[in-house]
């Protein structure tokens, strides 16, 4: 029994990049059917597009990490129930092109995130984020400009050209770069 469970877990180990790319395309197709407007060349690793996916519009070449949630309604409308029992309050969300939204962010109703923006992991975004800005925190605040962040990343010795490598080779190069021994591999 345990052996069978163990085998199942082994089978569920991280998939090679080609698999997740296929899954990403399938997810984007599903989200579009649900009403999310999604441009071309996007990578979307979350399916949390609230109960009104038609209110979310995403530009081209946008990447959204896992765990990020888009909220298109404000549950505080609950407080209107006594006088307007059917009331619900909604807000559109737009994301410009060439923007990256990190892991586990919350994008609140009415948020307008510009193009060439970076939203740091865990940010709670409300209101407008101007083009080219890096925002972080709760509530999200501007901490810098995307062009500088990109230049810093480009200059960093820890930026490796490994994106499309076969997974074992990718892991090998990362271990080698950070001075980890082969025997330390999981």
């Amino acid at each position: 029994m345990l052996t069978r469970l163990f085998r199942r877990r082994r089978a569920a180990a991280p998939s090679p990049p080609s698999d997740w790319k296929a899954r990403n395309q399938a997810l984007i197709a599903r989200l579009r059917r649900q009403g999310v407007a999604i441009g071309t060349g996007c990578v979307i690793l979350t399916d949390q597009f609230s109960t009104e996916p038609c209110l979310v519009e995403i530009g081209d070449r946008v990447a959204i990490a896992g765990g990020t949630m888009f909220l298109t309604h404000d549950g505080a409308a609950w407080l209107l129930r006594r006088t307007r029992p059917e009331a619900q309050h909604f807000g559109r969300i737009t994301v410009g092109s060439d923007t990256f939204i990190g892991q586990n962010c919350i994008i609140l109703p009415g948020a307008r995130i510009g193009s060439h923006c970076v939203v740091g992991a865990g940010a709670v975004v409300r209101g407008m984020v101007a083009d080219g800005m890096v925002v972080m925190g709760n509530p999200a605040r501007v901490v810098g400009r995307t062009s500088l962040l990109v230049a810093m990343m480009d200059a960093s010795p820890d930026t490796l050209d490994t994106y499309s490598l076969p997974e074992p080779e990718r892991q090998r190069q990362i271990r080698q770069h950070f001075g980890r021994r082969e025997s330390e591999a999981a």
């Binding site: 740091g120 890096v134 901490v143 810098g144 400009r145 062009s147 500088l148 230049a151 810093m152 960093s156």
Partner: protein
């Protein structure tokens, strides 16, 4: 103000602002100090430091220059050269007072 004195007050203001941006004591702002190894600057702090210095001294540091800062000396030189060239008045009026 003599040129030497103006330069000294500008450098002093840069060091003070840099210490404030990085949240470290002023005596750790030494030209040879490594931003990463000696002062623990990560990429986020690096970025906020650059943006903060630009706002304080009303200058623009090109991304390609700012991205390659590795020491305190690099930062001081980049700000000093641009703040000096910013206009005939040199450093902002309150640069000396901030030192």
């Amino acid at each position: 103000m003599p040129a030497d004195e103006s330069t000294a007050s500008l450098e002093s203001a840069i060091r003070t602002e840099l210490a404030r941006q990085l949240g470290v004591a002023g005596d750790r702002i030494l030209p040879a100090a490594s931003l990463v190894d000696d002062l623990g600057v990560d990429s986020l702090l690096h970025m906020t430091m650059v943006v903060g210095l630009e706002a304080r001294f009303e200058i623009v540091i090109p991304d390609a220059v700012a991205a390659r800062f590795t020491s305190v000396g690099d930062v001081i030189e980049a700000v000093r050269s641009r703040a000096t060239l910013a206009g005939p008045g040199g450093p902002p009026a309150d640069a000396g007072a901030a030192a």
